[in-house]
Symmetry: C2
Subunit: 138 residues, 2 copies
Protein backbone atom coordinates (compact mmCIF):
# COMPACT_ATOMS: atom_id res chain seq x y z
CA UNK A 1 0.00 0.00 0.00
CA UNK A 2 1.62 3.16 -1.23
CA UNK A 3 1.36 6.35 0.68
CA UNK A 4 -0.06 9.30 -1.17
CA UNK A 5 3.38 10.88 -1.18
CA UNK A 6 4.87 7.85 -2.86
CA UNK A 7 2.07 7.73 -5.36
CA UNK A 8 2.54 11.35 -6.37
CA UNK A 9 6.28 10.96 -6.60
CA UNK A 10 5.95 7.87 -8.75
CA UNK A 11 3.97 10.00 -11.18
CA UNK A 12 6.50 12.79 -11.13
CA UNK A 13 4.27 15.14 -9.23
CA UNK A 14 5.91 17.28 -6.61
CA UNK A 15 4.44 16.75 -3.20
CA UNK A 16 3.02 19.87 -1.59
CA UNK A 17 0.62 20.37 1.27
CA UNK A 18 -2.12 21.61 -1.05
CA UNK A 19 -1.75 18.70 -3.40
CA UNK A 20 -1.98 16.20 -0.59
CA UNK A 21 -5.14 17.85 0.66
CA UNK A 22 -6.72 17.88 -2.76
CA UNK A 23 -5.79 14.28 -3.39
CA UNK A 24 -7.24 13.21 -0.06
CA UNK A 25 -10.40 15.11 -0.81
CA UNK A 26 -10.76 13.27 -4.10
CA UNK A 27 -10.22 9.94 -2.39
CA UNK A 28 -12.86 10.64 0.21
CA UNK A 29 -15.46 11.68 -2.30
CA UNK A 30 -16.52 8.70 -4.28
CA UNK A 31 -18.19 10.93 -6.83
CA UNK A 32 -16.92 13.25 -9.50
CA UNK A 33 -16.44 16.79 -8.22
CA UNK A 34 -16.38 20.24 -9.71
CA UNK A 35 -13.71 22.83 -9.13
CA UNK A 36 -16.18 24.69 -6.96
CA UNK A 37 -16.74 21.60 -4.85
CA UNK A 38 -13.05 21.55 -4.03
CA UNK A 39 -12.98 25.28 -3.57
CA UNK A 40 -15.77 25.12 -1.01
CA UNK A 41 -14.09 22.30 0.84
CA UNK A 42 -11.05 24.40 1.63
CA UNK A 43 -11.82 27.91 2.69
CA UNK A 44 -8.31 29.14 2.28
CA UNK A 45 -7.80 27.80 -1.17
CA UNK A 46 -7.31 29.80 -4.29
CA UNK A 47 -9.27 28.81 -7.32
CA UNK A 48 -6.31 29.09 -9.63
CA UNK A 49 -4.21 26.76 -7.56
CA UNK A 50 -6.97 24.18 -7.53
CA UNK A 51 -7.43 24.60 -11.22
CA UNK A 52 -3.79 24.09 -11.99
CA UNK A 53 -3.41 21.28 -9.50
CA UNK A 54 -6.23 19.37 -11.11
CA UNK A 55 -4.75 20.02 -14.53
CA UNK A 56 -1.44 18.65 -13.32
CA UNK A 57 -3.12 15.57 -11.90
CA UNK A 58 -4.88 15.14 -15.20
CA UNK A 59 -1.72 15.42 -17.26
CA UNK A 60 0.03 12.92 -15.05
CA UNK A 61 -2.82 10.49 -15.39
CA UNK A 62 -4.20 10.27 -11.89
CA UNK A 63 -7.37 12.23 -12.52
CA UNK A 64 -9.74 12.29 -15.44
CA UNK A 65 -12.17 14.88 -16.59
CA UNK A 66 -15.85 14.14 -16.96
CA UNK A 67 -18.38 15.95 -19.03
CA UNK A 68 -21.70 14.81 -17.66
CA UNK A 69 -23.83 17.27 -19.55
CA UNK A 70 -24.47 19.64 -16.68
CA UNK A 71 -22.19 22.16 -18.33
CA UNK A 72 -19.72 22.08 -15.49
CA UNK A 73 -16.57 20.04 -15.81
CA UNK A 74 -16.13 17.41 -13.17
CA UNK A 75 -13.11 15.43 -12.11
CA UNK A 76 -12.53 12.07 -10.53
CA UNK A 77 -9.57 9.96 -9.57
CA UNK A 78 -8.54 7.34 -12.04
CA UNK A 79 -8.85 3.91 -10.56
CA UNK A 80 -6.85 0.80 -11.24
CA UNK A 81 -8.85 -0.14 -14.27
CA UNK A 82 -8.70 3.34 -15.69
CA UNK A 83 -6.24 3.77 -18.51
CA UNK A 84 -7.48 7.08 -19.73
CA UNK A 85 -3.99 8.48 -20.16
CA UNK A 86 -2.86 5.61 -22.31
CA UNK A 87 -5.85 4.80 -24.43
CA UNK A 88 -9.41 5.90 -24.46
CA UNK A 89 -11.31 6.25 -21.28
CA UNK A 90 -13.73 3.46 -21.81
CA UNK A 91 -15.81 3.34 -18.70
CA UNK A 92 -19.13 5.08 -18.47
CA UNK A 93 -20.42 7.72 -16.13
CA UNK A 94 -23.74 7.91 -14.42
CA UNK A 95 -25.37 11.21 -13.58
CA UNK A 96 -28.19 11.21 -11.05
CA UNK A 97 -31.00 13.59 -11.92
CA UNK A 98 -32.08 13.56 -8.32
CA UNK A 99 -28.98 14.22 -6.20
CA UNK A 100 -27.09 15.68 -9.13
CA UNK A 101 -24.04 13.56 -8.45
CA UNK A 102 -21.96 11.86 -11.07
CA UNK A 103 -20.16 8.60 -10.47
CA UNK A 104 -17.74 6.54 -12.51
CA UNK A 105 -19.04 3.08 -13.29
CA UNK A 106 -15.57 1.74 -13.75
CA UNK A 107 -16.68 -1.84 -14.00
CA UNK A 108 -19.01 -1.08 -16.89
CA UNK A 109 -17.09 -0.84 -20.08
CA UNK A 110 -18.59 0.89 -23.05
CA UNK A 111 -19.70 -1.54 -25.74
CA UNK A 112 -18.15 -1.31 -29.16
CA UNK A 113 -19.82 1.47 -31.10
CA UNK A 114 -20.13 1.27 -34.84
CA UNK A 115 -19.75 4.41 -36.88
CA UNK A 116 -20.49 4.84 -40.59
CA UNK A 117 -17.87 4.28 -43.28
CA UNK A 118 -15.38 7.08 -43.49
CA UNK A 119 -15.69 7.97 -39.83
CA UNK A 120 -12.80 7.10 -37.54
CA UNK A 121 -13.67 6.76 -33.87
CA UNK A 122 -10.94 7.73 -31.48
CA UNK A 123 -12.77 8.34 -28.28
CA UNK A 124 -16.14 7.74 -26.72
CA UNK A 125 -17.95 9.68 -24.04
CA UNK A 126 -20.99 8.00 -22.60
CA UNK A 127 -23.12 9.44 -19.84
CA UNK A 128 -26.19 7.68 -18.56
CA UNK A 129 -28.67 9.81 -16.69
CA UNK A 130 -31.28 8.64 -14.29
CA UNK A 131 -31.61 7.80 -10.62
CA UNK A 132 -28.64 6.46 -8.71
CA UNK A 133 -28.67 3.61 -6.22
CA UNK A 134 -28.77 5.91 -3.21
CA UNK A 135 -31.75 7.87 -4.50
CA UNK A 136 -33.72 4.95 -5.87
CA UNK A 137 -33.78 3.44 -2.40
CA UNK A 138 -32.51 -0.04 -3.15
Amino acid sequence: MKTIEELLESKNIRVTAMRLLIYKFLVEKDVAVTLSDIENAFEKSDRTTLYRTIKTFEEKGIVHQIDDGTGITKYALCEKGCNCEIENDLHLHFHCNNCNETVCLTAHKIPQIKVPDGFVAENVNLVVKGICDKCSGH
Copy 2:
Protein backbone atom coordinates in the same frame (compact mmCIF):
# COMPACT_ATOMS: atom_id res chain seq x y z
CA MET B 1 -44.40 18.14 -48.38
CA LYS B 2 -45.19 20.65 -45.70
CA THR B 3 -44.01 24.20 -45.97
CA ILE B 4 -41.98 25.50 -43.09
CA GLU B 5 -44.88 27.72 -42.11
CA GLU B 6 -47.17 24.73 -41.88
CA LEU B 7 -44.62 22.79 -39.92
CA LEU B 8 -44.19 25.53 -37.36
CA GLU B 9 -47.92 26.03 -37.04
CA SER B 10 -48.48 22.33 -36.56
CA LYS B 11 -46.14 22.53 -33.59
CA ASN B 12 -47.87 25.58 -32.17
CA ILE B 13 -45.01 27.88 -32.96
CA ARG B 14 -45.90 31.32 -34.16
CA VAL B 15 -44.50 32.06 -37.55
CA THR B 16 -42.26 35.10 -37.68
CA ALA B 17 -39.67 36.24 -40.18
CA MET B 18 -36.81 35.55 -37.79
CA ARG B 19 -38.03 32.08 -36.98
CA LEU B 20 -38.32 31.18 -40.63
CA LEU B 21 -34.78 32.36 -41.24
CA ILE B 22 -33.41 30.43 -38.32
CA TYR B 23 -35.26 27.31 -39.32
CA LYS B 24 -33.99 27.54 -42.88
CA PHE B 25 -30.48 28.03 -41.58
CA LEU B 26 -30.75 24.86 -39.53
CA VAL B 27 -32.05 22.94 -42.51
CA GLU B 28 -29.20 24.07 -44.71
CA LYS B 29 -26.52 23.17 -42.20
CA ASP B 30 -26.33 19.44 -41.87
CA VAL B 31 -24.28 19.75 -38.72
CA ALA B 32 -25.06 20.83 -35.20
CA VAL B 33 -24.56 24.55 -34.71
CA THR B 34 -23.80 26.83 -31.81
CA LEU B 35 -25.70 29.99 -30.97
CA SER B 36 -22.74 31.96 -32.25
CA ASP B 37 -22.88 30.14 -35.56
CA ILE B 38 -26.42 31.37 -36.03
CA GLU B 39 -25.52 34.81 -34.74
CA ASN B 40 -22.75 35.14 -37.29
CA ALA B 41 -24.99 34.01 -40.08
CA PHE B 42 -27.36 36.93 -39.61
CA GLU B 43 -25.67 40.23 -39.04
CA LYS B 44 -28.77 41.95 -37.79
CA SER B 45 -29.73 39.34 -35.31
CA ASP B 46 -29.80 39.72 -31.58
CA ARG B 47 -28.32 36.96 -29.52
CA THR B 48 -31.23 36.90 -27.10
CA THR B 49 -33.77 36.42 -29.83
CA LEU B 50 -31.79 33.55 -31.27
CA TYR B 51 -31.40 32.05 -27.85
CA ARG B 52 -35.08 32.21 -27.10
CA THR B 53 -36.06 31.06 -30.56
CA ILE B 54 -33.90 27.98 -30.20
CA LYS B 55 -35.34 27.34 -26.75
CA THR B 56 -38.82 27.56 -28.19
CA PHE B 57 -37.91 25.16 -30.97
CA GLU B 58 -36.49 22.84 -28.37
CA GLU B 59 -39.56 22.91 -26.17
CA LYS B 60 -41.77 22.23 -29.14
CA GLY B 61 -39.66 19.30 -30.18
CA ILE B 62 -38.22 20.38 -33.49
CA VAL B 63 -34.69 20.98 -32.25
CA HIS B 64 -32.52 19.09 -29.82
CA GLN B 65 -29.57 20.17 -27.80
CA ILE B 66 -26.22 18.46 -28.10
CA ASP B 67 -23.42 18.46 -25.62
CA ASP B 68 -20.43 17.27 -27.58
CA GLY B 69 -17.87 17.99 -24.93
CA THR B 70 -16.50 21.15 -26.48
CA GLY B 71 -18.11 23.14 -23.71
CA ILE B 72 -20.40 24.96 -26.07
CA THR B 73 -23.96 23.84 -26.48
CA LYS B 74 -24.93 22.90 -29.99
CA TYR B 75 -28.29 22.45 -31.60
CA ALA B 76 -29.65 20.46 -34.49
CA LEU B 77 -33.01 19.85 -36.07
CA CYS B 78 -34.78 16.74 -35.01
CA GLU B 79 -35.32 14.42 -37.91
CA LYS B 80 -38.09 11.98 -38.58
CA GLY B 81 -36.52 9.27 -36.49
CA CYS B 82 -35.85 11.62 -33.62
CA ASN B 83 -38.25 11.30 -30.76
CA CYS B 84 -36.29 13.24 -28.23
CA GLU B 85 -39.32 15.07 -26.93
CA ILE B 86 -41.28 11.93 -26.30
CA GLU B 87 -38.75 9.42 -25.11
CA ASN B 88 -35.02 9.42 -24.86
CA ASP B 89 -32.89 10.77 -27.58
CA LEU B 90 -31.26 7.56 -28.59
CA HIS B 91 -29.10 8.41 -31.53
CA LEU B 92 -25.45 9.18 -31.15
CA HIS B 93 -23.41 12.21 -32.06
CA PHE B 94 -20.06 12.34 -33.72
CA HIS B 95 -17.61 15.14 -33.07
CA CYS B 96 -14.74 15.60 -35.49
CA ASN B 97 -11.49 16.54 -33.80
CA ASN B 98 -10.23 17.92 -37.08
CA CYS B 99 -12.94 20.21 -38.45
CA ASN B 100 -14.58 20.56 -35.06
CA GLU B 101 -18.01 19.82 -36.45
CA THR B 102 -20.61 17.69 -34.78
CA VAL B 103 -23.14 15.63 -36.66
CA CYS B 104 -26.12 13.53 -35.65
CA LEU B 105 -25.76 9.92 -36.65
CA THR B 106 -29.47 9.42 -36.62
CA ALA B 107 -29.31 5.99 -38.14
CA HIS B 108 -27.03 4.70 -35.43
CA LYS B 109 -29.00 3.88 -32.37
CA ILE B 110 -27.29 3.55 -29.05
CA PRO B 111 -27.03 -0.06 -27.87
CA GLN B 112 -28.67 -1.07 -24.66
CA ILE B 113 -26.47 -0.03 -21.75
CA LYS B 114 -26.48 -2.03 -18.56
CA VAL B 115 -26.21 -0.22 -15.27
CA PRO B 116 -25.63 -1.76 -11.85
CA ASP B 117 -28.47 -2.82 -9.58
CA GLY B 118 -30.18 0.10 -7.94
CA PHE B 119 -29.44 2.48 -10.78
CA VAL B 120 -32.29 3.49 -13.03
CA ALA B 121 -31.30 4.68 -16.49
CA GLU B 122 -33.56 7.29 -17.99
CA ASN B 123 -31.44 8.84 -20.65
CA VAL B 124 -28.23 8.22 -22.51
CA ASN B 125 -25.83 10.70 -24.04
CA LEU B 126 -23.19 9.26 -26.29
CA VAL B 127 -20.62 11.27 -28.17
CA VAL B 128 -17.99 9.61 -30.32
CA LYS B 129 -14.96 11.69 -31.17
CA GLY B 130 -12.58 11.15 -34.01
CA ILE B 131 -12.26 12.05 -37.65
CA CYS B 132 -15.33 12.54 -39.77
CA ASP B 133 -15.87 11.25 -43.28
CA LYS B 134 -15.03 14.56 -44.91
CA CYS B 135 -11.75 14.90 -43.05
CA SER B 136 -10.65 11.28 -43.32
CA GLY B 137 -10.76 11.59 -47.09
CA HIS B 138 -12.89 8.61 -47.98
